[in-house]
Structures are given as structure tokens and as C-alpha cells.
């Protein structure tokens, strides 16, 4: 599938950390602590695949998406794109690679410059990469057509469009340089339900047509189910579970995933009435001072002593399903015995793998 790096993953993240300093002090700002926004996350993304990255606010998914595009400088760890280590690459060397990785943002109202016309917005990446003016107009027309807009929209301003249409413009802009990877940061959360469906369908279509790879960041588990091949669940900067998409919903191993799924209301009254829901109590802890051991233990109904003391490693179950938990749910004793430690485990994690009881 990928010729450039001999069939390896398109994107490879290893032990990525993003810490933000917290300053204090009377005159000179001393760093008194760090916000552990992303705390040792590793994953691979193969070409043509979609990885859904899910979690609630403060889990670090947005920070992670920005980190891997080098929009913020990672604190530690490595990012490899097409086999090349881009973690600390100079801006000059990074420039040609930037055209291969693009981003679509959440807020269709804030991510388009209100004073520029659509042709300027969508054509901006092309201008930056030295494409001639005449060619730009043609290319923009092509792109608008691909995202379901008309050529006559080229000369209008963002405020003349609806939310869904603006998001299409954002997508057209991301496609301008024919990237391989598109990072989508909650691209449909701000849209109405019927418009969400249109945009999801569009993203599906262009992925097939153009062979794109997506990192789809979202907080909505139901949207992610629809678009992803694999899904990663984050909480307080760490990966809780990584699973093939369908299996996450039929067989959630981590208690946090269970809780998330249980909390999502289902648009089916009878099922809602019948459903037994495990409520998650309390609030997420402070990311400046994360809990010891497993970061979810303060809210987990299954927490025991080992959870408070030892950070669970990411254990590999059947089907490439990973979970970081001392008390995995929905797995048989045989499956637990067969488990292995994944090398995507955080370096700070303990050695103990879950034991069959």
C-alpha cells in the first residue's frame, strides 16, 4: 500500500509527551508544575486507515493532534511520518512534509478568515507552495466540486455560508495539497445532526477516492463508530484502550470505555429503559497532579489497591485489542492468560499483567 517507507505505518507515535509548564512566582516566573496534557502515548496509523481518538474534555486528544502536526513542540517522545523522524526536524526541512499532513478544525465559524474569499482561503496552501494564480483558480474549482459546493461560491465570504458549508470549505482547504494524512479535530461536533451526516458521508467518500488516512478526534462515541477502523480512548493524557472499531462497542474491556458507552444516551426509548447503566461518579482529576497508579482509579467502580499503586501497562488481547487495566472487563480467563505486554505501554507503567482469577 505505501511505497515510500516499505509498507510500514504512515504515522508512528512513540511515547509522546506534551507537558505544559505552570508558572508562579513573585517577580520571576518559576515553573512550579506541569500540566500532563499528553502523558506517554504510542500508536501506529496505517495508510488508508482511520483512527478514531476519543475522550472527554481535558483528556489530551486535541493537544495530541496538534503535537503530531508539530503545531506545538512535543516535550518528549517521537513522531515518525512515512518512516522519517519528524519530531525535531527544522521548520525548513519540515515544510515539504507539511503538505502531506493537513488539519480540519472543529469550529467552522472560527477557522475561516472572515475577511478572505473562499478562493483565497482554499487557495492559500497552494499559494504558499508556489502554484501559479491561474492554476489555483482551476484547482479551487475542482476542490469545491469535490466537497459538494459550486464554482460560484468561490468569490463569496465565509459569513454567507451555513455551518455545514463552511466545514466543507475547511475540508477543501485541507485537500488542496493532496495530503496523505488529514487530522480532523472534532469536525462535526459544532454541526446539526442532519448536517453531521452529510459531512460524515463526504469524508467517507473522499477517503475512498483519494486514499486518505484520517486521525479523527472526537468526543462523540457514536460518530466515531461510524467513521473509524480503529479507536483509541484517552483519559487524562493516557491511552485507556485501543481497539478495532466494532469491537470497542461489542466488547469494551476498560471500565472507562464501559462507562463512556453507558453514558451515551441511545435514541431508542425502549432500549434506554431496559439498559443497565454504570454511572461514573465525580469529576475528572486535576491534570497538574494526576492520580498515582491508574489515572482512572479515583472514579472506577472496580478499583483495588494495585490500581492505586501500579500504573497498568497496555496489554495486548486478541485481535489487536489493547487495554490498560488491572481488572479487564468482558474477557474470559483464557484470553487473560494469553495476554502480552504491548510495547506501546507507557514507560512508567508497571510490569504486572492482569491475572486470570
Amino acid at each position: 500500500m505505501s511505497e515510500s517507507n516499505g509498507g510500514g505505518p504512515l504515522l508512528q507515535i512513540e511515547h509522546l509527551k506534551q507537558y505544559f509548564p505552570v508558572a508562579s512566582g513573585l517577580l520571576v516566573h518559576r515553573t512550579v508544575g506541569h500540566v500532563h496534557a499528553v502523558d506517554d502515548v504510542s500508536f501506529d496509523l496505517d495508510e488508508g486507515q482511520t483512527l478514531g481518538l476519543v475522550g472527554e474534555s481535558g483528556c489530551g486528544k486535541t493537544t495530541l493532534s496538534r503535537s503530531l502536526l508539530r503545531l506545538i513542540e512535543p516535550t518528549e517522545g517521537s513522531i515518525a511520518f512515512q518512516g522519517q523522524d519528524v519530531t525535531h526536524m527544522s521548520m525548513r526541512k519540515l515544510r515539504p512534509l507539511r503538505s502531506e499532513m493537513q488539519m480540519v478544525f472543529q469550529d467552522p465559524f472560527a477557522s475561516l478568515n472572515p475577511r478572505k474569499r473562499v478562493v483565497q482561503i482554499v487557495g492559500a496552501p497552494l499559494t504558499l507552495h508556489g502554484v501559479s494564480k491561474g492554476e489555483i483558480a482551476d484547482r479551487v474549482r475542482e476542490l469545491l466540486d469535490r466537497v459538494g459546493l459550486q464554482a460560484e461560491h468561490m468569490n463569496r465570504f465565509p459569513h454567507e455560508f451555513s455551518g455545514g458549508q463552511r466545514q466543507r470549505i475547511g475540508i477543501a482547504r485541507a485537500l488542496a495539497l493532496e495530503p496523505k494524512l488529514i487530522v480532523l479535530d472534532e469536525p462535526v461536533s459544532a454541526l446539526d445532526v442532519s448536517v453531521q451526516a452529510q459531512i460524515i458521508n463526504l469524508l467517507d467518500d473522499i477517503q475512498d477516492d483519494l486514499g486518505l488516512t484520517y486521525l479523527f478526534v472526537a468526543h462523540d462515541l457514536s460518530v466515531v463508530r461510524h467513521v473509524s477502523d480503529r479507536i483509541a480512548v484517552m483519559y487524562l493524557g493516557k491511552l485507556m484502550e485501543v481497539s478495532p472499531a466494532e469491537e470497542l462497542y461489542t466488547k469494551p474491556i476498560h471500565p472507562y470505555t464501559e462507562a463512556l458507552l453507558g453514558a451515551v444516551p441511545v435514541p431508542d426509548p425502549r432500549e434506554n429503559r431496559a439498559r443497565k447503566r454504570v454511572a461514573v461518579t465525580g469529576e475528572p482529576p486535576n491534570p497538574i497532579d494526576p492520580p498515582s497508579g491508574c489515572v482512572f482509579h479515583t472514579r472506577c467502580p472496580h478499583a483495588t489497591d494495585v490500581c492505586r499503586e501500579v500504573e497498568p501497562p497496555l496489554a495486548r488481547y486478541a485481535n489487536g485489542h489493547l487495554a490498560a487495566c488491572h481488572h479487564p472487563q468482558q474477557v474470559s480467563s483464557d484470553e487473560i492468560r494469553a495476554v502480552e505486554r504491548s510495547d506501546q505501554s507507557p514507560l512508567s507503567a508497571g510490569e504486572e499483567l492482569p491475572q486470570a482469577s
Binding site: E56, S194, Q198, P267
Partner: protein, 348 residues
């Protein structure tokens, strides 16, 4: 638990705003009733008029360029034409409202406890010490830990979920009969959303409060609502009990909404049955049925505006605005075995 005489009876409510583009008819003939202890969900997307309807009941849309018609009878008072004084007495004390974004809906420079106290003292001569105790008690009742201490905090020191709880505490502190919740969980995480919905459900159980829940999220609706009114382009296009709407929907827009929801509990369909096109301009609504330009099943009668009436077989309260026959509807509303709107090209 719920039922009995309606406490709120809205008839033919119409709200228009004069803007630079002309007169915008934001709400065009909306009628519904609310009974004690009942949750009525008003569902619609942006531009449907659901928020304007809710805010008009509280008189919050009154402005020099707004025109109102119709009535909203709340006990002895008619709300649409009520005087400012009458409204003021009702707001907070008998009808309370919570809004979408709890961060901006609370005064950032006033302590949370003080804001709740302000609500309590607005409707009665209550000594400060007593109001303070009551405020703390309210915070405790909505599940805020260490309520006495937290009452002295400012809104930015609370998390999103706690802020919304504080808003609920404030809204029910005077024990209103009706609570209007305008997208109360849209800005919150899903686990917090579940907690807040539980809070609201609790209210109706304990105090028999009637709730009008304005939302675009059909999942939330399936969880807590008793009855649903679906709004499109300023009109109610379908109204019925929650089971009727979900299991026997009569209007193509409802089918479209149900079909375009991504679900956590079902396998993914090959393609999401989306509703084509965009919502109509309210300054220049289409002739006849408002949904006609986007409806794949539009046919000849649709050039007339359909009245809201019962056409199907289920309950007498189940009404809709669609000329399609009761026999055709069950057949047309299935796409790939599920309720949805076919993506065939719409006529006209």
C-alpha cells in the same frame, strides 16, 4: 406522576423579527401543552425556532423589532401579552430557565452562592441568613460536594458539570412549576451529561415539575422525555409521545432526523441516510410545506401548507403535518431496514 390539567397551554404562537433582510418569521403557529411532572422535548436544528419559542414563554425575546401573536396560558396569566411586572413575578418563581452554556450564563464576578441567594430574595422578603442557608441546601441537593464551601466560589472555579448543576440549583430554588431547559447538556461531556439528565429527571419525580427540554439531540430525548414536538422552520411538524415519535414517526423530516443519528448501539449502516439540502430561509420561506424542497417524497398536494392534525392510527395526541397517506408512510420511511430518509433526489 405526570398528567392532569395542563399548567401551560400554548396556542398558535407566532414570533417575527424585523431585520435588514426583511421580516423573519422565527416561530410560525406553534401549539402545545405541558402537564405537571411531564417532560416535553422540543426538538429541532438551528433555525427551527425552538429556542425562540422557549425564550418567548419567559418574555426574553421582547424587543422593539419583535412582533408576537397567539397565546401562552400559564395558570391565570397569559404570557405573550403579560405586563413586565407580571412577567417579573413569574420568572424564577413559577417558571424558571436554564441555558446552554453555564460558563457564560453565570455572572463571572459574583460568587455562586450569592447568585443563588439573589434568586431566592428576588421573590419574597427573606432574611439574608435564611437565604444563604437555603442556597447552600440547594447546592447540596444537586450533588455539589462541600456545598457550604463551594457556595463562596466563583463560576470559573467550577467545572462545566458543576456549573450546570449550580444553574439547576438556582433555577429550582424558588420551587417553580415549570422548568425550561435550553440545550442544557450540549456543552458538556457525555458522562457529565448523563449526571445532569438524571438531575432533571429527578426534579420531575420529586417535585412534579413540568419540564420543557429544548434540544437537537435525539438521544437525550429518548432518555428523559415523555412527549416530543419536532420543529422545522418555525413550525411543529410532528408531535406525540416519545414512543410514537420513535417507533411510528409520521413526518419525513422526523424520519430524516432519526436516520441521520450515528448510534453507539448499532452496527454502522453503509452510508448515513442524510437529509439533502439546507434549511430554508425564514425571511423567505418556501410555498406550501416548508420541508418540500428537501423531501424526496414530495408530491402534488405539498404546494399547500399541511395542517397539524392526526393522520395515523396511534394515539389521538399524535399529530403531524404531512399529506402522505397513513398506508404509505410506514413503507416510505424505511431505508436499509431502519428509519431514515432515502437519498433519492427531491422533487421541485
Amino acid at each position: 406522576m405526570s398528567g392532569g390539567e395542563p399548567i401551560l397551554d400554548v396556542r398558535n404562537l407566532r414570533v417575527s423579527f424585523s431585520t435588514e433582510e426583511g421580516d423573519v418569521q422565527a416561530v410560525d403557529g406553534v401549539s402545545f401543552q405541558l402537564r405537571p411532572g411531564e417532560v416535553l422535548a422540543v426538538v429541532g436544528e438551528s433555525g427551527s425556532g425552538k429556542s425562540v419559542t422557549a425564550m418567548t414563554l419567559m418574555g426574553l425575546t421582547r424587543s422593539p423589532n419583535a412582533r408576537f401573536e397567539g397565546t401562552a396560558q400559564f395558570r391565570d396569566t397569559e404570557l405573550v401579552n403579560a405586563t413586565d411586572d407580571e412577567l417579573r413575578q413569574i420568572r424564577g418563581a413559577q417558571i424558571a430557565m436554564i441555558f446552554q452554556d453555564p460558563m457564560t450564563s453565570l455572572n463571572p464576578v459574583q460568587r455562586v452562592g450569592d447568585q443563588i441567594m439573589e434568586q431566592i430574595t428576588a421573590h419574597g422578603e427573606i432574611p439574608e441568613a435564611q437565604a444563604r442557608t437555603q442556597a447552600v441546601e440547594m447546592l447540596d441537593r444537586v450533588g455539589i460536594p462541600r456545598a457550604a464551601e463551594r457556595a463562596r466560589s466563583y463560576p470559573h472555579e467550577f467545572s462545566g458539570g458543576m456549573r450546570q448543576r449550580a444553574m439547576i440549583a438556582m433555577a429550582v430554588s424558588c420551587e417553580p412549576d415549570v422548568l425550561i431547559a435550553d440545550e442544557p447538556t450540549t456543552a458538556l461531556d457525555v458522562t457529565i451529561q448523563a449526571q445532569i439528565l438524571q438531575q432533571i429527571a429527578q426534579l420531575r419525580e420529586d417535585a412534579g415539575v413540568g419540564v420543557i427540554l429544548v434540544t437537537h439531540d435525539l438521544g437525550v430525548v429518548a432518555d428523559v422525555a415523555d412527549r416530543i414536538a419536532v420543529m422545522y422552520a418555525g413550525q411543529i411538524v410532528e408531535r406525540g409521545t416519545v414512543d410514537e415519535i420513535f417507533y411510528d414517526p409520521q413526518h419525513p423530516y422526523t424520519w430524516g432526523l432519526l436516520g441521520s443519528i450515528t448510534r453507539v448501539d448499532r452496527d454502522r449502516p453503509g452510508r448515513l441516510p442524510a437529509i439533502g439540502g439546507v434549511p430554508p430561509s425564514l425571511a423567505n420561506p418556501p410555498e406550501g410545506c416548508r420541508f418540500r424542497p428537501r423531501c424526496p417524497h414530495a408530491f402534488e398536494p405539498c404546494t399547500q401548507v399541511p395542517d397539524l392534525e392526526q393522520r395515523g392510527a396511534s394515539g389521538s395526541g399524535h399529530v403531524d403535518r404531512c399529506f402522505l397517506s397513513a398506508q404509505d408512510k410506514p413503507r416510505l420511511r424505511e431505508v436499509d431496514g431502519q428509519v431514515g430518509l432515502t437519498t433519492g433526489s427531491p422533487s421541485a
